[in-house]
C-alpha cells in the first residue's frame, strides 16, 4: 500500500451538509413533502404478557379524520421467520408492555394520536417476570454471544491461579438499562406505488432495511427502495430495521395512501431496544506488583421472549490484559421485556466498565499506580486468539494521556483532596474496540467536464461519514475535492453495510478507494465519453482474504471529578481521552465522535438509568426530563487527542473506526475518579448522589 497523495484526507473540514442541517433544508424521514399523506400512530400494549382477547376500534374510528385501525385481525400479512421483532400486527400475543399492537391512521397527526388513545383492547394477562437478578431460575448459557463469539472461554486453570495469587479482587458490578435517545426518533414515511414500496426511513443502513422489507412483504429486493439521506443519530438503535418502517409500510398498504409514522420520545424506551442491564462479577488474582495471574469475568444480561439478543459483555476481558489463567462466561435470562439491542459499543462498553473498575481496585490493593498497573499488564499477542496484533498502542495512549493530563504528581490516597466542601479525585481507564470491516460496493463516475461522482449506500447518521468519504474519494482520484460529488443514503446506490460496529468508514472507504483507483486506471487509457465513464466494485473478495490478525483501536481515559461533601453530587472537572485509531480522515468530525463517546460514558457513569417498575414491567422514567442524559454544563472541559498511527494491515484508508472507542472505558475512568475523591466505591451505576451521601460524613 502506498501513502495517499497529500490532499483532503487528514484535513479539518466541516460537514458537507452542515449548512443544510442548521438552516432546516436537510430533510429527515418524515419531512419529505408527500401528496395525500396520512399519519400513523403506534398503539402500545398495556399488558406485560398475555393475549389480546378483543379489540374495539369503533371509538377510534369515530374520531373525525381517522381512516383505519390496523391490528392483528386486519393488517396485511407478513412473511414469518424473517425477524420476530418485526413480525408486527400478526398475532394476538403480547410479549412485553409497550409492544406495538395496533396502528391508527388518520388525516392529521392529532387525530391519529387521539384515535390511538381510544382504541379499546382487552387482554388475557399472564404472570410476568421482568427483573434481572443473578439468582433468576431461568438463567441459561446461550450458544453464542454477539456477533458470534463463544459464550464461555477458558485458558489455564483460573481457580488454581486465583487461589494462589498474592492479591485478589472479587467484585460485582451492576449497570442498569440504558436507552438510546437520538434527536430524531425512529420514523418512516412509506408509499406504495404499482406494487413497489418506497420508504424514507431513519436508519443506520438502508441496504438491510430494503432486504428485510422485501422478505417481510414477499417482494423482490428491487421492488423496495429505502432512502436515509439524513439521519438524526442512532447510536446503534437504528442499526437494524425497527418497528416504524414495518408499521408505516403495513399502514400505507392498508389505506392505500402514503403514511408518516414517527415514534414519540416515550416510545423509544423499549420497543426499539436498549442496552441490557448487566450483573458482572470480576475476579483478578495478581502478584504483589500487580501482574495479573488469573482473570475471570462472569456476565449476566437479559433478553426477551421474542428474540435472543446475547450481549458480548465479557468479550472485552478476553483480549485486553495479561493473565495466564483466564475464564469468561455469559449467562442470559429471557424476561417479559422488549428485546435489548445495540447501544454504542455493545458488550465492550459495559464490560470495560467492570474490568477497568476492577483494575482500579487491584491497583489500590497492590499499591501500584493504576496507569503503571495497566502498562505492566500489556500483552504482545492477543491472549484470546493467540494472534499477533496488527498494531497495539495501548501503552502509548496511557503514557501520552497521563503526560497531557498531568497524572504524574497524583497522590493515590482516596478522599485526601478538598476544595472547600468539594472532594477532588482523578481516575484512569483503558479502552479498546475491534477494528473490523465488512464488504461493500461502490461506483465512481467520471464526467467529461472533469468532475466525478462517487456513489455508495453508506449512511451518515450525523457522524460526518459523507464528508470523510468525499475526502477519501478526492485523494483516491488525485483531484481537488471540489471536483468530487458524493452520494450516500439510498438503497438504489451500490449496496453497503450499516453505520455500526465502528466499521462504517473502514468498510465504505475501502470500496470508494477501489472504485476510484479503477476509474483512474481506466481514465489513463483514453478520454471520457460523453455519457461519462463508470466503474463499480465490490470489496467482498479482498476482505475475505485479509490476514488473520487481532485488529483493535486503543485508548486511555483520564477524568477528574469533584464530589460535594454535603449533597453527594458528582461533577466532572475534566476529561481527557487519548486514542490510537489508525489514520484520522477528518479531525473536525473525528474529535466530535470521540468526545461524544466520552460524554456518553460520563452520562452512563453519573446520569442515565432506566427505572423499571416490576409491577408494570416497563421503565417509568421514559422522557428526557426524567431519564437524565449529560448536558453541556456537565462537560465543560473535555479533550480528545490521538496518536499518529500507521497500520498497514487494516484497509486502504488505514482507519480503525472511532464511533465507539470513545465510550469504552470512559464510565470506569469517572467511577474510579469518584472513588479517588471519596474513598467510596459505588459498583452499581449510575453514581447518584444518594449512593454517595450515605457514606459521606454528616454535617
Amino acid at each position: 500500500m502506498s501513502a495517499p497523495p497529500v490532499g483532503a484526507v487528514g484535513r479539518e473540514h466541516p460537514r458537507l451538509e452542515g449548512r443544510d442541517k442548521v438552516t432546516g433544508a436537510a430533510r429527515y424521514a418524515v419531512e419529505y413533502p408527500v401528496d395525500d399523506v396520512t399519519y400513523g400512530w403506534a398503539v402500545p400494549a398495556m399488558a406485560t404478557r398475555g393475549r389480546i382477547t378483543r379489540i374495539d376500534a369503533a371509538p377510534a374510528l369515530a374520531v373525525p379524520g381517522v381512516l383505519a385501525v390496523l391490528h392483528h385481525g386486519n393488517a396485511p400479512r407478513l412473511t414469518p421467520g424473517v425477524d420476530q421483532t418485526l413480525f408486527l400486527l400478526q398475532e394476538p400475543t403480547v410479549h412485553y408492555r409497550g409492544e406495538f399492537v395496533a396502528v391508527v391512521v388518520a388525516d392529521t397527526i392529532e387525530a391519529a394520536r387521539e384515535g390511538a388513545r381510544l382504541v379499546r383492547i382487552d387482554y388475557d394477562a399472564e404472570p410476568h417476570s421482568t427483573v434481572l437478578t443473578e439468582h433468576h431460575p431461568d438463567l441459561y448459557r446461550p450458544d453464542t454471544v454477539n456477533p458470534g463469539y463463544p459464550p464461555d472461554t477458558a485458558d489455564g486453570d483460573f481457580d488454581a491461579g486465583y487461589a494462589a495469587a498474592e492479591v485478589r479482587v472479587d467484585a460485582t458490578y451492576r449497570t442498569p438499562a440504558y436507552h438510546n435517545n437520538p434527536m430524531e426518533p425512529h420514523a418512516t414515511t412509506a408509499h406504495w406505488r404499482d406494487g413497489r414500496l418506497l420508504a424514507h426511513d431513519s436508519t443506520q443502513g438502508s441496504t438491510p432495511v430494503q432486504a428485510t422489507l422485501a422478505q417481510l412483504f414477499g417482494l423482490p429486493p428491487e421492488a423496495v427502495r429505502v432512502i436515509a439521506e439524513h439521519v438524526g443519530g442512532g447510536f446503534g438503535s437504528k442499526g437494524a430495521p425497527k418497528a416504524p418502517v414495518v408499521l408505516a409500510a403495513l399502514a400505507a398498504r392498508h389505506v392505500d395512501r402514503p403514511v408518516r409514522l414517527a415514534l414519540t420520545r416515550q416510545q423509544l424506551f423499549g420497543p426499539i431496544g436498549y442496552r441490557t442491564p448487566t450483573i458482572q462479577r470480576v475476579r483478578l488474582g495478581a502478584d504483589a506488583d500487580g501482574r495479573i495471574e488469573a482473570v475471570c469475568h462472569d456476565a449476566i444480561s437479559q433478553t426477551s421472549t421474542v428474540h435472543e439478543f446475547a450481549e458480548q459483555t465479557a468479550v472485552y476481558t478476553r483480549s485486553m490484559y495479561a493473565g495466564r489463567h483466564r475464564r469468561t462466561t455469559h449467562r442470559l435470562v429471557r424476561l417479559d421485556v422488549p428485546t435489548p439491542f445495540w447501544m454504542r459499543a455493545p458488550g465492550e462498553c459495559p464490560g470495560a466498565y467492570a474490568l477497568e473498575s476492577a483494575l482500579d481496585e487491584l491497583a489500590t490493593a497492590c499499591g501500584v499506580d493504576p496507569v503503571e498497573l495497566r502498562v505492566r499488564n500489556d500483552v504482545t499477542v492477543d491472549p484470546d486468539s493467540g494472534q499477533p496484533f496488527s498494531s497495539r498502542n495501548l501503552v502509548a495512549c496511557l503514557r501520552e494521556g497521563a503526560r497531557r493530563f498531568g497524572w504524574a504528581d497524583r497522590d493515590p490516597t482516596p478522599g485526601a483532596r478538598h476544595d472547600g466542601r468539594w472532594l477532588i479525585g482523578t481516575g484512569v481507564a483503558g479502552s479498546s474496540y475491534p477494528a473490523r470491516a465488512r464488504a461493500a460496493a461502490a461506483a465512481a463516475t467520471a464526467a467529461p467536464d472533469g468532475t466525478f461522482e462517487v456513489r455508495i449506500n453508506a449512511t451518515d447518521i450525523g457522524t460526518g461519514a459523507r464528508t470523510a468519504l468525499w475526502q477519501v474519494a478526492a485523494d483516491a482520484l488525485a483531484v481537488p475535492a471540489d471536483r468530487v460529488t458524493i452520494r450516500v443514503g439510498d438503497s438504489d446506490l451500490p449496496a453497503a453495510g450499516v453505520a455500526g460496529g465502528s466499521m462504517g468508514t473502514a468498510s465504505w472507504s475501502w470500496a470508494v478507494i477501489r472504485a476510484c483507483e479503477q476509474l483512474r486506471q481506466r481514465l489513463r487509457d483514453g478520454v471520457v465519453p460523453a455519457e461519462g465513464l463508470t466503474v463499480e466494485v465490490s470489496t467482498a473478495d479482498e476482505i475475505r482474504g485479509q490476514r488473520p490478525l487481532a485488529r483493535y483501536a486503543y485508548g486511555a481515559h483520564f477524568a477528574q471529578v469533584r464530589v460535594d461533601a454535603d449533597t453527594g453530587e458528582v461533577r466532572l472537572d475534566r476529561m481527557l481521552g487519548m486514542f490510537a485509531a489508525g489514520r484520522v480522515v477528518n479531525p473536525t468530525t473525528a474529535r466530535s465522535q470521540l468526545i461524544g463517546g466520552m460524554t456518553m460514558g460520563l452520562s452512563m457513569a453519573l446520569h442515565e438509568e432506566g427505572l423499571l417498575d416490576e409491577r408494570y414491567g416497563d421503565w417509568v422514567n421514559h422522557d428526557l426530563a426524567t431519564y437524565h442524559v449529560s448536558v453541556c454544563a456537565d462537560v465543560e472541559r473535555i479533550e480528545a487527542y490521538w496518536l499518529p498511527e500507521e497500520d498497514p494491515e487494516l484497509n486502504p484508508a488505514g482507519v480503525k473506526g472511532i464511533g465507539e472507542i470513545g465510550i469504552v472505558g470512559s464510565a470506569a475512568a469517572v467511577a474510579n475518579a469518584v472513588h479517588h475523591a471519596t474513598g467510596v466505591r459505588v459498583r452499581d451505576l449510575p453514581i447518584r448522589l444518594d449512593k454517595l451521601l450515605e457514606h459521606l460524613p454528616a454535617r
Binding site: G568, L606, V620, H628, D634, D690, R699
Partner: protein, 330 residues
C-alpha cells in the same frame, strides 16, 4: 390529542368569564408544562384561554420597597430584572436554578407556580394515579419514589411540587393577587398549594376559574442575605432532588430573623417554620442550624427510596445558613 379551541381574551375579566363558562377550560401561559401534558393525554382541556397577551407583564417596585410581579412576566425576564436582582436576589437564584434558558424564556410567573408534579406515574396515563384519575390508587407509593415526598404526603399521593420559584416566594412571604368570578382577592403563596390529603387532584386553594394576576413580594430588610441551594442529578436542566431557600438576619451572633423553605420534599413548597422558630433569638452556630433542621425534619416520613433526602436537606440547611452567617458583616 383532543381537539381544543383557543382564545386570547382582551382583559382579565374576559379571561375569567371565558374560563368560568367552560367546565374543561384551562389558562395557557408559556405552555411549557400544559402542552406536554395535553400531548400525553394527562390534561384534556377543550378550551385554552391564552393569558399571555394580557397586560400583566411588568415588574414594579412598590412604595413600601416591595415588588409586584405581573403573572405573565417570563421567568427569564424576572430573573434578570434589576430590581429583582437588587432587592430580592433569592428570586433570581431560584429561577436560574431551574429548567433551561429556552424554557425560562417561555414560562410565566404564575405558570411556574401552577406547574404540575413531575411524578412519572402522574405523567403516564397507563399507570395508577389518584391525582390524575381520583380513585385509581397511587402507583408511586410502592413504586419508583426516590424523587418524591418525605413530608406531608398521604396514602393517596406522594408527589412533590417541582417549582424552584415557589420555594423562594414562600420563604419571602409573597402574596398572590387573584381575580375570580367573585372579584379580586389575595392569597399568600404559602397557602396556594395544598398537601394531598384524600384529594390530591385538588392541588391549590384557588377558587374555580381564578386567575393569578400578580405576585407581590413584601420588602425584607435582609433579603439580600439569601441563598438558594439546589441538589440535582446533573449540573443543570434538572428538577431538584432537594432544595433550600434561606435568608438570615443576625444581630451580632444572634439570629434576629430567618427565612427557610424546602423544595422537592412535599406536595407544596415547604416553609420550615419549626426550624425558623428554633433559630430565632439564639446565638448562631452550625450546631444550632443542624438542630433547627432536625426540628423541621422530625416530621419526615421517607418513602422506601428517598430516605437520603432527610440528610440531604439537613446538610443543605446547615450549608446555607453557615454560609449566610459567615457572609453577614458582624
Amino acid at each position: 390529542m383532543r381537539a381544543f379551541r383557543y382564545q386570547r381574551p382582551a382583559d382579565v375579566a374576559e379571561a375569567v368569564a371565558l374560563l368560568d363558562a367552560e367546565p374543561d377550560a384551562a389558562y395557557l401561559g408559556g405552555g411549557t408544562n400544559l402542552v406536554d401534558l395535553m400531548k400525553l393525554g394527562v390534561q384534556r382541556p377543550d378550551l385554552l384561554v391564552d393569558v399571555t397577551g394580557l397586560p400583566l407583564d411588568t415588574v414594579d417596585t412598590l412604595p413600601d420597597g416591595g415588588l409586584r410581579v405581573g403573572a405573565t412576566v417570563r421567568n427569564s425576564d424576572l430573573a434578570a430584572h434589576p430590581a429583582v436582582r437588587r432587592d430580592h436576589p433569592l428570586l433570581s437564584r431560584a429561577l436560574l436554578a431551574g429548567a433551561s434558558g429556552q424554557l425560562r424564556n417561555m414560562a410565566t410567573t404564575a405558570g411556574n407556580l401552577l406547574q404540575r408534579t413531575r411524578c412519572v406515574y402522574f405523567q403516564d396515563t397507563g399507570k395508577a394515579c389518584n391525582k390524575r384519575e381520583p380513585g385509581t390508587g397511587c402507583a408511586a407509593r410502592h413504586g419508583q419514589n426516590r424523587d418524591l415526598a418525605i413530608l406531608g404526603w398521604s396514602e393517596f399521593c406522594v408527589a412533590t411540587h417541582p417549582s424552584d420559584l415557589a420555594v423562594a416566594l414562600v420563604a419571602l412571604d409573597a402574596v398572590l393577587e387573584v381575580y375570580d368570578p367573585g372579584g379580586a382577592r389575595e392569597i399568600p403563596v404559602a397557602e396556594l398549594h395544598r398537601t394531598p390529603g384524600e384529594q390530591p387532584e385538588r392541588e391549590t386553594n384557588l377558587p374555580r376559574g381564578a386567575l393569578i394576576t400578580a405576585v407581590r413580594v413584601p420588602p425584607l430588610p435582609f433579603a439580600r442575605r439569601c441563598t438558594y441551594l439546589k441538589a440535582r442529578d446533573r449540573a443543570t436542566f434538572a428538577f431538584a432532588v432537594g432544595s433550600v431557600a434561606a435568608a438570615l438576619d443576625l444581630d451580632g451572633d444572634t439570629v434576629r430573623d430567618v427565612r427557610l423553605a424546602y423544595g422537592a420534599v412535599a406536595h407544596r413548597p415547604w416553609r420550615a417554620y419549626r426550624a425558623e422558630e428554633a433559630l430565632r433569638g439564639r446565638p448562631f452556630t452550625a450546631e444550632l442550624a443542624a438542630r433547627a433542621a432536625d426540628a423541621e425534619l422530625a416530621a419526615a416520613r421517607p418513602l422506601p427510596h428517598n430516605g437520603f433526602k432527610v440528610a440531604l436537606i439537613r446538610n443543605l440547611t446547615v450549608r446555607a445558613l453557615t454560609g449566610l452567617a459567615a457572609a453577614v458583616p458582624r
